[in-house]
C-alpha cells in the first residue's frame, strides 16, 4: 500500500472520539468523589464533550468519498465490521454525552435559562453515580473501538495491541482535559484537601504510566513478530520524529514528568494540556500513516 487511504481526518476522528470517552470517565469519577460531600464545582469539560465527539464524527464524514451518503451507514448493521459496530456504539454514546452535558451545565448558563435550571435540578436527582458508572463502561468501549478499528485491518503494524494503547491514551487525554484546568482551582473538601490534586492526580499519573507500558508492549511485539521494515516506517524518518518527539515525548513522558512537579502555575498547565493533546493526536496520526506507508 503506497497511497494513504486514511490521513489526518481519521487520526483526528480517533483522537476526538477517544478524548470525549476519556473526558466522560473523568467527569463521572469526579462527580462520584464529590457527590454529597462538597458543593460541586462546574464541570466545564463535560459540556465540551458532545462538541468534541461531534467534531470527530464530522471529520469521519468529511473523509468519506461520498460525504452526503453517510446516512447509508445508519441503515446497515454488520456485526463483523468494527466500523459498523463502533458507529452504533458512538450513536448511543453521543446521546449519553448530550444528557451528561445538560446535567453539568455551568451555573452561569443555567441562571440565564430558568426553565433549564429547573429541569437540571430534576435530572440531578437521578442516580447519576450509576449512570456515570455504566456510561464509563460505554466510554471504555468507545476508546477500545478506536483501536480495534485499526487492529482488524490487514496492515501488519496495526495488528497488535492498539486497543490497549488507545484505551490508556483516550483516558489520559480525557483526564488532562478535565483535571488540569481544575488544578489551579481552590475546590477543597472539608478536610482541606484539593479535590483535583489529592483525589484525581494519582489516577492521571497511573494512566500515563499505563500508556507508556502499552507502547513498550506494542513496540516489542512489532519488533519481535513482524519483519523489521514494518516497524522501521514508524520509528525512522519524518514519521519517526512525530512518533518519538510527538507521541512518546510530548504525549506521554512530558505530562508524566509534570505530574511530579509541586508548583503548577496556570499558564504551565495550559501548556501541558496543549502538548499532551497534541502528542495524543500525533500518536494516532503517526501510527496511521506508518501503517499505510
Amino acid at each position: 500500500m503506497n497511497e494513504v487511504t486514511w490521513g489526518y481526518p481519521i487520526a483526528l476522528y480517533l483522537f476526538l472520539a477517544g478524548l470525549s470517552a476519556g473526558g466522560f470517565v473523568f467527569t463521572a469519577l469526579f462527580s462520584r468523589v464529590t457527590s454529597g460531600h462538597v458543593e460541586l464545582p462546574d464541570q466545564r469539560s463535560a459540556v465540551l464533550l458532545p462538541f468534541l465527539l461531534g467534531a470527530g464524527i464530522l471529520m469521519l464524514i468529511l473523509d468519506l468519498g461520498r460525504k452526503l451518503d453517510f446516512w447509508k451507514l445508519l441503515f446497515h448493521f454488520n456485526i463483523d465490521s468494527p466500523m459498523s459496530m463502533g458507529l452504533w456504539v458512538l450513536i448511543v454514546f453521543s446521546f449519553l454525552l448530550l444528557f451528561w452535558a445538560i446535567i453539568w451545565l455551568p451555573k452561569a448558563i443555567q441562571s440565564r435559562v430558568p426553565v433549564l435550571a429547573e429541569w437540571i435540578l430534576t435530572l440531578r436527582k437521578l442516580n447519576f453515580e450509576r449512570i456515570g458508572l455504566w456510561g464509563s463502561a460505554l466510554a471504555i468501549l468507545v476508546a477500545v473501538y478506536t483501536g480495534v478499528l485499526l487492529s482488524a485491518a490487514a496492515t501488519p503494524l496495526w495488528n497488535s495491541v492498539l486497543p490497549l494503547i488507545f484505551l490508556f491514551s483516550s483516558l489520559s487525554t480525557g483526564f488532562a482535559l478535565g483535571l488540569l484546568p481544575g488544578l489551579s482551582s481552590t475546590t477543597h473538601d472539608k478536610g482541606g484537601k484539593n479535590i483535583y490534586e489529592d483525589y484525581m492526580m494519582g489516577r492521571y499519573r497511573l494512566l500515563l504510566f499505563g500508556q507508556f507500558v502499552a507502547v513498550c508492549i506494542f513496540l516489542s511485539v512489532a519488533y519481535l513478530t513482524q519483519p523489521h521494515e514494518i516497524i522501521v516506517n514508524l520509528i525512522y524518518g519524518w514519521i519517526g520524529y512525530l512518533w518519538w518527539f510527538g507521541a512518546i515525548g510530548a504525549g506521554i513522558l512530558f505530562p508524566l514528568m509534570t505530574t511530579f512537579f509541586k508548583k503548577k502555575p496556570r499558564w504551565f498547565l495550559a501548556v501541558v494540556i496543549v502538548v499532551e493533546l497534541g502528542g495524543a493526536f500525533l500518536l494516532r496520526w503517526s501510527l496511521l500513516i506508518a501503517g499505510q506507508a
Binding site: M1, T5, L73, S84, G147, P163, K190, G191, R203
Partner: protein, 222 residues
C-alpha cells in the same frame, strides 16, 4: 450445492499482451488510473538463468472475504456461488475495505468518490457470458470454469485449496510474484474478539479499581 465458478490464470500460456486489462477497463467503465485487472511482470534471476515472470491479477474472490466483513455500508456482498460483488450504489468510499484486504485489491477512485474492485463481471456471467478478461484473452491463459474444477493436466494452482475464486497456476513460487504466503484468511473476523478483549479487560479492571478505591476515599472526604 451451488456450483462455484472459477477463473484460472495459467502463466505458461500468458504472453503479457494486456488484452485482459483493456477488456476489463472497457467492460466495467473503470476511470483512468484504476485497474480492476492488472498485468505485471518482473525479471528474475541472473543471466543465463534469468527469466521474466508475468501475472494477471484481479480480485481473488476469497471464500471468506475480509472486505465483506469490513464493509459498514453493505456495498460488498458474497454471493452464494462465492463471487464477491461490489454494489457501487451502496458504496460511500470509507476506505475500510482497502485497509482490510490482505491482497491489497480494492482501489479508491477519486473521480467516482468510491472504491472499485473486480466483481467477476456479474453483469456478464448472469446472462451466461464469460467475464470480459477471459473473453478477450487471445492465448487462453485466462479460463472461466463454471464447474469450479481445474483441468486435469493443470498443476496445483495458488489459492485452489483455500477456495479462492481467482486461482493462479504459476511457474515459480508465489512469493516471487509478491503473493502472500500462506494464502491469508479473513483478518477482520480472525481473533477480533481478542482484539476487543485486549482493551476491554484492562479497561474493566481500571474502572473497577478507580470506582472501588473512590468509595474508600469517600470516608476521608468528611
Amino acid at each position: 450445492m451451488t456450483v462455484e465458478p472459477l477463473i484460472v490464470y495459467n502463466e505458461k500460456l500468458c504472453i503479457g499482451c494486456h488484452s485482459c486489462e483493456i477488456a476489463c477497463q472497457l467492460e466495467n467503465n473503470a476511470p483512468v488510473g484504476i485497474m480492476l485487472r492488472h498485468v505485471t511482470s518482473e525479471p528474475q534471476g541472473v543471466f543465463p538463468e534469468e527469466r521474466e515472470w508475468i501475472i494477471s491479477t484481479a480480485c481473488f474472490h476469497c471464500n471468506d472475504p475480509s472486505c465483506v466483513s469490513a464493509c459498514p455500508a453493505g456495498a460488498l456482498k458474497r454471493r452464494d456461488n462465492g463471487v464477491v460483488e461490489h454494489i457501487q450504489k451502496n458504496c460511500i468510499g470509507c476506505g475500510y475495505c482497502i485497509n482490510a484486504c490482505p491482497f491489497d485489491v480494492p482501489q479508491f477512485s477519486p473521480s467516482q468518490h468510491i472504491m472499485r474492485k473486480c466483481s467477476f463481471c456479474t453483469q456478464r456471467i448472469d446472462v451466461g457470458k464469460e467475464p470480459a478478461c477471459v473473453a478477450k484473452c487471445p492465448t487462453g491463459a485466462l479460463k472461466y470454469l463454471t464447474d469450479g474444477n481445474l483441468p486435469k493436466d493443470m498443476p496445483a494452482a495458488y489459492g485452489k485449496s483455500e477456495r479462492l475464486h481467482m486461482v493462479y497456476a504459476l511457474t515459480g513460487k508465489p512469493s516471487e510474484y509478491h503473493l502472500p504466503e500462506p494464502v491469508p484468511g479473513n483478518n477482520v473476523t480472525h481473533l477480533q474478539i481478542f482484539k476487543w478483549l485486549i482493551g476491554l479487560v484492562p479497561g474493566a479492571f481500571l474502572l473497577g479499581w478507580f470506582w472501588k478505591k473512590l468509595s474508600f476515599e469517600e470516608d476521608n472526604l468528611e
